[in-house]
Amino acid sequence: MPTLLPIDALLIAACAWLAVGLAGLAAPANTRFIARTLFPLGALVGLLVGIVGLCFLGESPETAVLVIGLPDLPFHLRLDNLTAVFAMLLGFASAGISVYAAGYFRQGGGAAPGLLCLEYHVFLASMLMVLLADDAYAFMVAWESMALSSFFLVTTDHKHGEIRRAGYLYLLLAHLGAISILLSFGVMTSGSGDYSFAGMRAQELSPFWASVAYLLALVGFGAKAGLVPVHVWLPEAHPAAPSPVSAMMSGVMLKTAIYGLLRVGFDLVGEPLWWWGVVALGVGLVTALFGVLYSTVQSDMKRLLAYSSIENIGLIAVGIGLTLTFHAYGMEALAALAMTAVLYHCLAHAGFKSLLFLCTGSVLHATKERSLGKLGGLIHRMPWVAWLALAGVIASAGLPPLSGFVSEWLLLQSFLFSPGLPHPWLNMIVPVAAAVVALVAALAGFAMVKFFGIIFLGQMREESLKDAHDAGPWEKAGLVWLASLTVLLGVLPATVIGRIDAVTHQLLGTGLAERVREHGWWMLAPISPERASYEPLVFLATIVASVLLGRWVVRRFYHGRMRRSPAWDCGYFFQGPRAQDTAEGFSQPIRRIFEPMFRMQRHFPTARDAKPYYSVKVEDHFWHWLYVPIARAAKATSALIATLQGGRIAIYLLYSFLTLILLLLVARP
């Protein structure tokens, strides 16, 4: 009797997702059925996927071949540790998001709920297939289906022009990225014509072609991950989508691109060259800095988060770059450290960024507002969302004891131990890179304080916020799930690393687990406790203990008396909500310090203004540096070529006449 292999389980899960989606078409308008039945089912499937992935880690790879696909290239599937860890990410994150979505989608929200349900679950299934695919065709099909389904999700509310534009930009860049990925695959087969990944592994590429393949992959996957300069779609698409979809895209979909980079860089293309790592490192640094700076100056809460996603992807790319460099120099232990940082940050980011996006979703539902300038003081009206968001904020700011800090800590550690690279230039570059990473981490804190402080704290900037309501039970459940993931990832790093270590073992041949396990589950010491160690639990315990102790002591020896009174107005008689910082005001120092980084249009009121107002518009440099020129060039070319179709029949006849004569004179067998 055949036993159910994990890979079959995942395949069944993908089909189950598809089935759930199609079931949505059965009753496209029945919101209650779809929200209360189908989405929870999808969440259940997601949970299973996560569990399968988690349990599979450490097993030996499994493969399968389906009947569908091209005649000479049927779908090859493969489940190995790299796939498993990302499947785990997909499963657990999507479980929380689906539960949330069960409460989020309601009547009259853009498209028919049945359609949404279909697109959403096709999106999930295709992401799973991307992870499982083991040949170029299957991969491309899954990859593009993912792009397509997410595109339709993004354009759910296609009444608005900017959302349509965002969708167009998104799909266009996704498609161009896919083209570049396909090219990279083609290079990796090096003319053997065998497009299964196994065939690519078998090839021995010359350094030149290997580099070409790698760079093409970097561009292609970078376009999906949002690396500068192919990031422009991201801040447009994420805000446009419904919040669960934004969460899914930012938390999970971007990671599929990271998966692709790892798959190509460490599995398919063969031995890496050291400078690949430097390229990835440089791109990552630029991306991270760019992302965090722009996220600090946004006035739309979802755009802020989108840019912060760019920043996190940048950090991940930095980690990948370090890993590649170490790997190329054969320093596998350090490579393992860096790669662990990468994987950990993927997991952490999936947790806290989804959490934050879902929180913005609740805020959006409660207030119909996305602009930070019109929010504020919501912690009084929606305490659940606020406090759960706080967890996400702290993690996203990379502060202990939550998940974000662990990966940042690992990343900095791998920087710290990088001297010893046999390349003097690298040794000079690395500290600077570390400095930039540190700066980025600190700036992320700034952005997050702005995010949380302006949305949830202070006085309400609009009267309408008075009747904002807290999230419903389903939404709460989803938020709690993701928040608890964030906390767990934060306080149990040793345990988690023990699991994901299988990946570094598979790709690099070594890992941290042995050394980590020596020091017990509560302590994280990748090299040795003398060199570096971190015990989040003790950490947490100490703080909590001193908080409680302090509180107790104060109550015990003094008193707990307290009375309310109006806030002190510093002698100014009016202290309305308008007196608080606006979103723009809060980020004014950043704009001022990093002025050259932004393309700003500002309007200052003059003394004579009848209606004085202040406005600032921040634009992306890359539009004007890269995309506008390309568009112009294409336009010019087509204008030139269009002269072929002049409308005069005599000229047309002349064309065919000349073609004929030319061929008669030139073409010879």
């Binding site: 269009a642 002049g646 409308g647 006449f657 008669l664």
Partner: protein, 222 residues
Amino acid sequence: MNAAIPLTAQLINLFAAVILLLAFAMLAQRRVLPLINLFALQGLTLAASTIVAAVSTGQHHLYWSAGLTLLLKAALLPWILHRLVRRLHVKWEVESLINVPTTMLVGIGLVIIAFNVALPISQLSDTITRGTLGIALAVVMLAFLMMITRTKAIPQVVGFLAMENGLFLAATSATYGMPMVVELGIALDVLVGAIILGVFFFQIRDQFDSLDIRHMERLKDN
């Protein structure tokens, strides 16, 4: 030494030369009706050469095709065209995009090209009328040139039909005719095409109240 070549072959070559000459004449012709007449004459010569070929080779279906040619190219089509010109009150003047001398020069260049292209084939040919293939090609190209340079619908059509003549010349005199069924089909197509063209002229005239095809340059992308 002409004696080596049989008379029939000489005749065929002669007719071919005449057809080429007529093609040039059509290229030079400035008026509509003479143009049609020239076309008819060309058809006549074509028929004649076909008959000669038939006689010399004794292939019977060539008689049929000669008859067809005579009927269609020399009689029916010119008649239709004449009627059209009368019914549509076409202006007699035919403007040309390029002035006639230039056209002639280009035409001579084309003839040279055509001969050179056809040369290797005619060398291979074992038929007595090897040269005619080059002439046929030249006629086709001259007709092509005429279609390009003329700005009115009718001359363009005449050019189109003259091109068919060239093809027919190639078919008959160079290869002693295609299989009968094919020739019938071709003839049918030409006939139907001419009729459809007739229908067209009226439609065009109704829409643009002139047959000047320079009115028809609206559909364009530049």
